[in-house]
């Protein structure tokens, strides 16, 4: 399988570098919240975050100059996008929906179903170099792409501030700076956080509190996969040394009754080739989830109401079309997706709770950071 195939040489390059002196990076994280794990090799600095932010929003980082990271990871949508599935810089349509970038610093798994990736730095290579599908498409053109930044005095200044010993852009600098920027995208200023952790009883209304109680109940079982600080099982933080990556088949498909997902995307199975991994994907964070429609790995559910109805039904029965089949009966479906009875009021309660996970200040900062970058552009 060539999907997401990476040249192992790049990983070797990443491993060979000298760490700059650690700094006290001013995280946007409340004082009593756990700090994320940061690799010793790439400590956070404001200068690297700044450089990474400029790169993130810069279309020159794609080979053909058509796309930036931000073309798909859009600030208004918590760094996801409203398209059903992503489209790369060459116009190639991807199989999967763009994931939001929210508290990725806490992730111990990346992408929808990629168990082998350890760390944001390694993940960053996928959009840069991936050839199936093409995203930024710089494979084979690295020198030329990096030279664009070497030729830009503002970028040279940012490079020397971020990497004092560097005299020209190299992959290491691009990857480390982008990783630092992505790591800086933390979001905890929500009505839920004020209610749950700051003890503000009136931070959520009664409907949202009822929804919260449904969410954490055994009847709805939402929190089994969307639990913990970031409402995802694939989250870890400073004191946790034991990653707990989990992937689930939610019964979205059962093509032809063969327990299959559509041929072009079988989830975790694509990498493991274990039959029981068919249709397994990672449960993403629910923080800012109201901003990240459409939903599921292939964006095939349009809104949060549809997602709740889907889980209430215990999967999806497609009666027509090329993917027809009763996903509810998929043999590999997670035991947590068994369906539940949900009254219209409970549905409204759950929606209110999910909206209480939105952090408007996060989006404001994100949008502002793009404007800052655009104001500084000399294209």
């Amino acid at each position: 399988m060539t999907r997401l195939g990476l040249r192992s040489g790049w990983l070797a390059i990443l491993a060979a570098c000298t760490p700059p002196a650690p700094t006290d990076y001013p995280w946007h994280i409340p004082a009593d919240y756990p700090r994320p794990v940061v690799p010793d090799r790439n400590p956070m600095t404001a200068a690297k975050v700044t450089l990474g932010r400029h790169l993130f929003f810069d279309v020159r980082l794609s080979w053909n100059g058509e796309q930036a990271c931000a073309s798909c990871h859009q600030p208004e949508h918590a760094f996801s996008e409203p398209r059903q599935t992503a489209v790369g810089s060459t116009g190639e349509r991807h199989a999967r929906n763009t994931l939001a970038l929210v508290n990725v610093a806490y992730s111990d798994a990346f992408m929808w179903a990629h168990p082998g990736l350890r760390g944001i730095e390694a993940q960053t290579l996928v959009p840069l170099f991936g050839e199936d599908p093409v995203e930024l498409g710089i494979a084979g053109h690295e020198r030329e792409v990096f030279a664009r930044f070497d030729d830009d005095p503002d970028y040279r200044r940012r490079l020397s501030e971020a990497f004092p010993r560097a005299d020209a852009f190299a992959l290491q600098h691009v990857v480390d700076a982008l990783a630092c920027f992505v790591r800086s995208l933390t979001s905890f200023d929500t009505p839920f956080d004020r209610y749950a952790y700051a003890g503000e009883d009136d931070a959520m209304d009664e409907r949202a509190i009822r929804g919260l109680n449904h969410f954490f109940s055994e009847r709805f079982e939402c929190h089994h996969c969307h639990g913990g600080l970031n409402f995802t099982a694939s989250s870890t933080h400073g004191d946790v040394a034991l990653p707990s990556t989990t992937f689930h088949n939610t019964g979205l498909y059962n093509v032809g009754g063969d327990n299959a997902y559509p041929d072009h995307d079988q989830g975790l199975y694509e990498l493991t080739e274990q039959p029981t991994d068919r249709g397994k994907f990672r449960a993403p964070t629910l923080r800012n989830v109201a901003l990240t429609a459409p939903y599921m790995h292939d964006g095939s559910l349009p809104d949060l109401g549809a997602v709740l109805d889907f889980y209430a039904a215990g999967g999806r029965n497609l009666t027509t079309g090329p993917y027809a089949g009763d996903g509810r009966a998929n043999a590999y479906k997670s035991q947590f997706v068994r369906g539940f009875d949900m009254t219209p009021e409970e549905r409204d309660d759950l929606l209110a709770f999910l909206h209480a996970l939105t952090d408007p200040s996060f989006v404001e900062r994100a949008v502002r950071s793009r404007l800052d970058v655009q104001a500084n552009r000399h294209l």
């Binding site: 919240y33 600080l229 099982a233 004191d239 989990t246």
Partner: protein, 262 residues
């Protein structure tokens, strides 16, 4: 430092034991307590019901002498799997490196029993999850502030799950801790011969735990244990009465943990 009583370990062992005895503070006044857990192999299950992953907390260890006097075991602080009071045991599964040994020290003495609590006592079970330190910081082993931690978590592939924890915990919402003890604590106190802490080990008999369960057809047991006959019988195998959430006859009838030779 004086030499402690040396223990010899058989080379042949199915259990990968991360022993920290060498670095352990040790004096003639204390003796090591090293409790190994081993998974008794399950009868073969349907492909969708494997692999089996089993994780559980062990707290409040005591050694008990012939007069019934219990002496607390001080666990060795060894994150991420144990602090001084609680250890997380994780038997081999697909996504965990696993931890099969709980270790600590106890004043030297003649003991006949080892006792431990399967789970986390109420006073520790409902702390602020933001400040949870290892081994209590595992999202997969946590329900919510109100209901606290999962004491034991067994997942049979994607077919069937048993999550044991306290139920009937009352507070104003799922993210507020209860002031009073939960109605059904579901904390089993397990008593085994003292030899398991020296030259024996504890076999965990999953077959006995799920004897009443058909993993491919039965509902999960994750809360309202008394409502399903299957779940009542799963709790009964641990010595617990699902109706009251308390030990039946001091949990002495439990059939899941048993002493074995190493």
């Amino acid at each position: 430092m004086k030499r402690c009583r040396s223990l010899s370990w058989p080379r042949k062992s199915i259990v990968i034991a991360a022993l920290a005895l060498g670095s352990q503070a040790c004096s003639p006044a204390t003796q090591p307590v090293t409790t190994r857990f081993a998974l008794d192999p399950l009868p073969s299950l349907a492909p969708t019901a494997s692999p089996a992953t089993l994780r559980f907390y062990v707290s409040d260890l005591h050694m008990v002498n012939a007069h019934g006097q219990a002496t607390p075991v001080r666990l060795t602080a060894a994150p991420p799997y144990q602090d001084e009071r609680t250890a997380l045991v994780s038997l081999p599964g697909d996504d965990e490196s696993g931890n099969t040994v709980v270790h600590g020290t106890v004043p030297r003495g003649d003991y006949v029993h080892l006792e431990f609590l399967l789970g986390i006592p109420f006073a520790r079970n409902h702390g602020n999850p933001l400040q949870a330190a290892p081994p209590l910081d595992r999202p997969a082993m946590f329900w919510a502030w109100q209901s606290g931690h999962k004491f034991l978590r067994l997942d049979l592939g994607n077919a069937w799950s048993f999550h044991l924890g306290s139920t009937g915990c009352h507070s104003t919402s799922a993210v507020r801790p209860p002031q009073d003890e939960c109605r059904r604590p579901n904390l089993a106190r397990i008593r085994l011969p003292a030899a398991v802490a020296t030259d024996g080990q504890i076999e965990v008999d999953l077959g006995a735990l799920i004897a009443a369960v058909n993993p491919t057809t039965d509902e999960n047991c994750m809360g309202s244990y008394a409502d399903a006959d299957t779940c009542r019988r799963v709790l009964d195998a641990l010595g617990l009465d699902a109706g009251t959430g308390r030990c039946l006859a001091d949990c002495r009838g439990q059939r899941v943990f048993r002493a074995a030779r190493r």
